[in-house]
Assembly symmetry: C2
Homo-oligomer: 490 residues x 2
Amino acid sequence: MKKPLVSLERVTLPPPSPSDKRADWERFKDALGTEDLTISTDLLRKLPGLLRKQGFQLNTMISHFPPREVISLQPENAYVIALDIGSTNITGSLLDLKTGNRSERITLRNPQTEDGTDILTRIHLASSGMGDSLSEKLIRGINLLISDLSAMAGIDNLNIHAMAVSANTVMSHFLLNLPVENLPVEPYVPVAHRFPSLHASDLGLTINPHGLIYIFPNAGSYVGGDIISGIIASGVHRGERPSVLIDVGTNAEIVIGTKDWLLAGAGAAGPALEDGIFRAGRQAGKGSIRRIEYIPSERIFRYETIDGDNPTGICGSGVVDLVYELYHNGLIDRRGRFTESAGTFDLQGEPALEIVRDAGIHVTEREIENFLRSKAGMFTALSVLVHSVGLGFQDIERFYISGALGTGIPLKKAIALGMLPDLPVERFLLLGNTALSGAEMLLQDASLIEEVEEVLGKITYMEMNTSAEFMQDFPSARYIPHADPEKLRD
Amino acid sequence: MKKPLVSLERVTLPPPSPSDKRADWERFKDALGTEDLTISTDLLRKLPGLLRKQGFQLNTMISHFPPREVISLQPENAYVIALDIGSTNITGSLLDLKTGNRSERITLRNPQTEDGTDILTRIHLASSGMGDSLSEKLIRGINLLISDLSAMAGIDNLNIHAMAVSANTVMSHFLLNLPVENLPVEPYVPVAHRFPSLHASDLGLTINPHGLIYIFPNAGSYVGGDIISGIIASGVHRGERPSVLIDVGTNAEIVIGTKDWLLAGAGAAGPALEDGIFRAGRQAGKGSIRRIEYIPSERIFRYETIDGDNPTGICGSGVVDLVYELYHNGLIDRRGRFTESAGTFDLQGEPALEIVRDAGIHVTEREIENFLRSKAGMFTALSVLVHSVGLGFQDIERFYISGALGTGIPLKKAIALGMLPDLPVERFLLLGNTALSGAEMLLQDASLIEEVEEVLGKITYMEMNTSAEFMQDFPSARYIPHADPEKLRD
């Protein structure tokens, strides 16, 4: 049976007697059948009273992340939180280890975005003495999410006994308030790959103060704990034959590998597919357009929003739909330029096309160009990485798509636009937020900590942005689907 | 070479480069040649800046008590403190691990004595809600001693990086503010034998906040860490043939054993030989009488005080001298009663003898009786313990004397009074404060931690006060030297 990261155990101790004078703490450990266990003085102070009050039968919560530790005595329940800290958003879910139930995932905006949407601005601010403030903002955001998750489940924050945290390397550094200034500077050295074992109180997180905070380790500035967690969730590291994980967040991050080797590549693949590219770009949420279709006879767009609300913007899958429809109906050419039949209007000197007149949603030529740069960056990174290990796309058994494109992306259209290799659609699997899934899995199965260490020991990193091959291939990947479509099957 | 409990190490790291992107923390651990090391987030925050400022060469202080941990980065020195916390006194010394120098030992009164000189009163107060206050008083006393030791050496408190603490079980519980109420109640169960690994800041001790606090584990309510430390210092646990450790503090505590087995016995052996028995009783210190001689021709006492100061009282060795002189010169009989030739005066209805007229130092019959009860308790406990394992005094290779009698006791006179077995004086060795010596040794040799665990695994405890043999033998041991002197050689 799988052992969760923290487990609720019922302990029955023989009461002390003249022939058995073991101390309470040693008696407790013996009953649990372990020597290798520690406890805070705070909880040790409560042990004798509780043992006697409960007739030497006690429930206890034990952390299985070394050093193994008692994190609660006589807890009422066994809630834990999985967390994915991105540069833009923080997403979390609440798990009940007793029932195995998982809450809905909740996403809040990372409050650090108040100080700068892009990460380099924040690193710069932190290096100029604002590190404490940025770290506090992040903690505040996480505490808000903890409150939301607790409120949703109708429980007390203090009944949450552990958190598993996936984050990119910059965010995990901010979480611990570690200096970030060396992260973006050659040779891109983090303060730590593995973080010390932490209690919630060490970071000011408002769960049980003794609660365990497990942070996925990173393999470098550009291979964060979120990627490591994603690998665990996708299983790329377990395959006999090569598979690929594509995680599209603020960057596109790609991992290729088998059970024997792993290669990661990441780089600024242009702005992300959510926010950033289109003025009307949105995260998937109430009112965002997720499906869109062009009706040539009426020269209008028909759309579908999440929850059927009035449209407020377009989310990732909607953007893919839109560009596909524009191209397929001849409104843009293969370089993304509006054709004469598009019927554009002039927006501050730039051609723009109306999408939803009532909601003021439109798209400009520059925005389409940005999208094509993004898809070219992503595809080229994928292509360079796959070819760098002497493989072709045909050799890849499975492509796992996660992140912004991981939920509901119209796969056939993405392939038709040249975002993904031209392979049978069955080879692609949409996995949603793998960074969060990995954290959820690890909370339920502590043995995955060892798999994480194996991944960390195996993974190597290839720098993309400076690769000559990347520079050479990138321009032709900006065409729809590609200047040389053969490259999509290569 | 011996490795100290915390060691100062010089680390040289290869600087990061494009071909070596290890994180600072992993790079640091690799340079130290260890995986098994942890660090607080506080120090981890400082690591990157310090490494770069120092050109990737750093001094560091590492704790070798599991979990192994970094306790200081770029410290100027390597001071540590050994501490013996008794119910009445706190004694400490400062060691410089760089030079191997040890400071003078300093003794302060345990501030808890304000609330009660005897330990049961304090346990009672703690059980009635005053535990926090008693614990704070103890911490305050230790912090005073830390300040005194630092001032004497002319160093900053914060330059002290570890403490090894010997204490009886009650005092170690007070140190951690653990509940003491079960300690004096059958079956005498401590909260813990082994205490969790602690930092100075956890206890409010004013050395380096990351400093390691090692507390000798106990083997029960009556076999404290001070006894375990004393065993380590005396080497009873290393002998091929049986030896005995007699530690006279507030109680007389006795350990007998070899490298294969250890048996401890303790019990209230009557009041201690310092304070308590004689109104004029004193701890060894300035002005206390340590040698005394009766001049029959002049019918006066000639004495010698510590440092030659005016006499203020009589310390342990002086008391032994005094009773011996009284008996030897026929001023008391073998039951401790004044003879007619003593020339007593009446003190509130009780016969008393003047010792130092000018200083108002005298001794009463009841006080001598108390002394004889104490010596009887100590001798009887020793006798019962030795015979309980089927041995006689002749079989004991060595008697180690520590505690109040451990310094400067006139051995031949103690034997003549029947405090100790009637054996050649060469069999006895005065070791001073073995509880403190053990702590000093462990600070300089971390491998002793394993010996401590071996001792803990081996030692058994025999209850004295309720033993029928003790009850039977005790009365005749109150005579000088014994009602049946054969028993002194048996």
